[in-house]
């Protein structure tokens, strides 16, 4: 491949169609799998796929699922996920997935078919203004109107998707461009002069950051998905730095796995449903070291009550993430890997023998907070508590290579709280967009990337129904994805908010006429399992693991359970509610907070 990139022979160039050029570029970019769905505008590419064997195509059942599958693939491998869909409805169906990938910084290249160039703008059959529609939900997009630009555009799309802060990129491909002869250029042929995201941090900022860190008495590491995106080495460096400082660390929903959950310095996830100790530590800290997190409103709560006494260090590869919601004292723009390397080196250059003594009181305070056991729940003998089912799932799968995805809702928060991760790349959830229907197709993408692994979608029944058609895909490609459905017959998270903030009026949050999930599994030719009592949970999980097929596990759980702790919208971290008995949990929300989602 590399030889061909330098100067493609003229003969080769002449003989290739646009479709062949696209596929060759994908192969050169290291793509092995495409998730897609055909249609008129992309038939030339499908024809080219049919006549080669380097790329594997996974035929999904809905284009939204193709993007989520590519996200799962990308987030569990660190590679770029690749999608191929047709024009018009094929392209518009990807919009939710693209937005999801944009919000969670997932590298995706999505190829969309388009009507032939001479028909663009004519309201042709299955024409949509794909670059117009996807401009706000992609990191960048291209409409290729000249065969000369084709190879360069595809290569550039991959470069943009994976570099800097990763994100989705759309390449819109008119049918005539795919059919005409097109020249091939290798990936290094034409780099553009613009778009050169910085990787290395400014050394002066590193010194300032370490200066603050060494004097901290109540420090906290606040780490997000950016460190995972920076790669395994960044996560190792993080662990070294955290251990050498001896400081506590909290992770965001997106950051889970970046630091081992079993380590004693980990104080749990923070944010709206984070642990008491994590949120209180954020609130009381004097130095905050944010690495690769973006001060999301789910994390900060009310901004003027957010960690009021801390000096803040913020490391991010995206300059526009810095000083967006929260003004910081030491901004560090850079990739987490070289930045952590530099922080570690600067830390080691100083004598930090005093560190332990300085933070002893802080650790005592944290231990007090931990003693509140904010994630506690009581499992009785009647109905299954969703938290219990997740804990058992963790216990019974801990000696395996297990990947977890989730849908969106209460089950997602319980999974984040009760399924600890010691490694990065094993936890995939829709954080920024909160997309119900993400988890199942994402799990499918993970399973494609890791055929031997145990891949489980911890799901709510309502979310799962949103992309359940993918059962058919799982059957076709023998992807033994496990759907672990915590079935409470409610859009539980909606019901919880209705309980808290809307006088218990459950408007349209109850699901009547749910399918029989066991029979549903059987209808697809898969295996269905059900547990209704706590005593049945372990057997179900063991059976689910044993079966080498897709499984739908219907765990009938307590319908009334709510997620705690909770920081109500518009409240500050120290206004966290620990349980239903907690005074004013329902009234705590302010009028301003009510407008927040």
């Amino acid at each position: 491949m590399t030889a061909a990139t330098a100067a493609p022979p003229a003969v080769d160039t002449q003989s290739m169609t646009g479709s062949q050029v696209v596929l060759k570029a994908l192969v050169e970019q290291g793509v092995e799998v495409i998730f897609g769905y055909p249609g008129g505008a992309v038939l030339p590419i499908y024809d080219a796929i049919f006549q080669q064997d380097k790329l594997r195509h996974i035929l999904v059942r809905h284009e939204q699922a193709a993007v989520h599958a590519a996200e799962g693939y990308a987030r569990s491998t660190g590679k770029v996920g690749c999608v191929l869909v047709t024009s018009g409805p094929g392209a518009t169906n990807t919009v939710t997935g693209l937005t999801d990938a944009l919000m969670d910084s997932v590298p995706i290249v999505c190829l969309t078919g388009q009507v032939p160039t001479h028909m663009i703008g004519n309201d042709a059959f299955q024409e949509a203004d794909t670059v117009g529609i996807t401009r706000p939900c992609t990191k960048h997009n291209y409409l290729v109107k000249d065969p000369e630009d084709l190879a360069r555009s595809v290569h550039e799309a991959f470069h943009v998707a994976r570099s800097g802060r990763p994100g989705p990129v759309v390449v819109d491909l008119p049918k005539d461009i795919l059919m005409k002869p097109a020249p091939y250029q290798g990936k290094d042929a034409a780099r553009r002069r613009t778009y050169q995201p910085a990787r290395d941090p400014d050394p002066r900022r590193i010194e300032e950051a370490v200066e603050l860190m060494t004097r901290a008495e109540r420090p906290i590491f606040y780490v997000g998905g950016g460190v995972i995106n920076a790669g395994p080495r960044a996560c190792e460096l993080l662990a070294e730095l955290v251990r050498e400082t001896g400081y506590p660390i909290t992770l965001t929903l997106m950051g889970l796995g970046a630091y081992p959950a079993s380590d004693k310095q980990f104080v749990g996830m923070l944010g709206m449903h984070g642990t008491y100790e994590a949120n209180m530590a954020m609130h009381g800290a004097d130095v905050m070291i944010n690495i690769g997190a973006r001060f999301d409103d789910r994390v900060t709560g009310r901004l003027d009550g957010f960690s009021p006494g801390s000096r803040k260090i913020h490391v991010d590869i995206d300059p526009s993430s810095i000083n967006k919601n929260v003004a910081v004292d030491v901004p560090v723009i850079g990739d987490a890997e070289p930045t952590l390397e530099a922080l570690l080196a600067a830390w080691r250059r100083r004598s930090n023998s005093l560190a332990l003594g300085r933070t002893a009181a802080w650790w005592e305070q944290i231990a007090d907070w931990q003693a509140r056991k904010s994630l506690r729940f009581r499992q009785g003998t009647d109905s299954i508590k969703p938290q219990y089912a997740i804990q058992r799932l963790h216990q019974l799968t801990r000696d395996r290579d297990v990947y977890i995805t989730t849908e969106v809702g209460q089950h997602q928060m319980w999974a984040a709280q009760h399924f600890p991760f010691d490694k990065p790349f094993h936890w995939m959830t829709s954080g920024g967009l909160g997309t119900m229907g993400y988890g199942f197709p994402a799990a499918m993408g993970v399973q494609v990337a890791h055929p031997e692994a145990l891949v489980i979608d911890i799901a709510g029944e309502s979310s799962w129904l949103m992309n359940m058609q993918e059962m058919s895909t799982c059957m076709q490609y023998r992807l033994p994805v496990k759907s672990f459905i915590l079935n409470n017959s409610y859009m539980g998270m909606v019901r919880q908010w209705q309980d808290f903030f809307h006088g218990n009026r459950h408007a349209e949050s109850y699901m009547d006429s749910l399918p029989d999930f066991v029979k549903l599994a059987e209808a697809f030719g898969a295996v269905g399992l059900r547990a209704e009592k706590p005593s049945e949970v372990d057997d179900l999980i063991k059976e689910m693991i044993k079966v080498k097929q897709p499984v739908i596990a219907d765990i009938v759980v307590d319908r009334t359970e709510n997620v705690y702790p909770m920081i109500p919208g518009g409240a500050a971290h120290n206004e966290i509610k620990l349980s239903p008995e907690d005074d004013g949990a329902h009234e705590a929300i302010s009028e301003k907070g009510m407008v927040l989602v």
Binding site: P136, T194, Y195, L303
Partner: protein, 188 residues
Amino acid sequence: MPAKESKPSTPQALFSDAERTPEERHTIVVLVDNEPGVLARVIGLFSGRGYNIESLTVAEIDADKSQSRINIVTTGTPLVIEQIRNLLAKLVPVHSVLDLTVEGPHIERELALVKVVGGRENLVQALRIADFMHARLVDSTPESFVFEVTGTSGEVDAFIHLVEPIEVSRAGVVAIGRGESILRPRER
């Protein structure tokens, strides 16, 4: 190409007193690769986040028409202005972003075509004003004059205020830094 967007609703506005942070007016220039959709990306960035555009001009500026320069006048709190600069710099076809208001001394000019219609007396009066405000008469009929006026936005405002025109067409602000420093396209 001036475009007016609605008042910004910054995220802080929902939470705190940031809505009372005073807004500043900034002139930002952006050098971009001249490719389809680049203006839509720039405008979308403002409309999508509810930021203000007071004025926006764009034109090709090099011989082979491969680059355009965009001049934007915007208002916002300091945090919002910083966001705008960073978001602009992040766009793939953008070479460089310069906030002239921050960078220091610079020149801002605007051009307007101003039409006055009326009787002889009105027109003579307008001509007198044009004369001492250095506006040029570029079209005349017995009932109407069109003046071309250039200057700072304030000077253009003043002229329009005085001649009470019937129709105005303004080009929006173009700006350039003083002295020898220049805004360059990116090198490889």
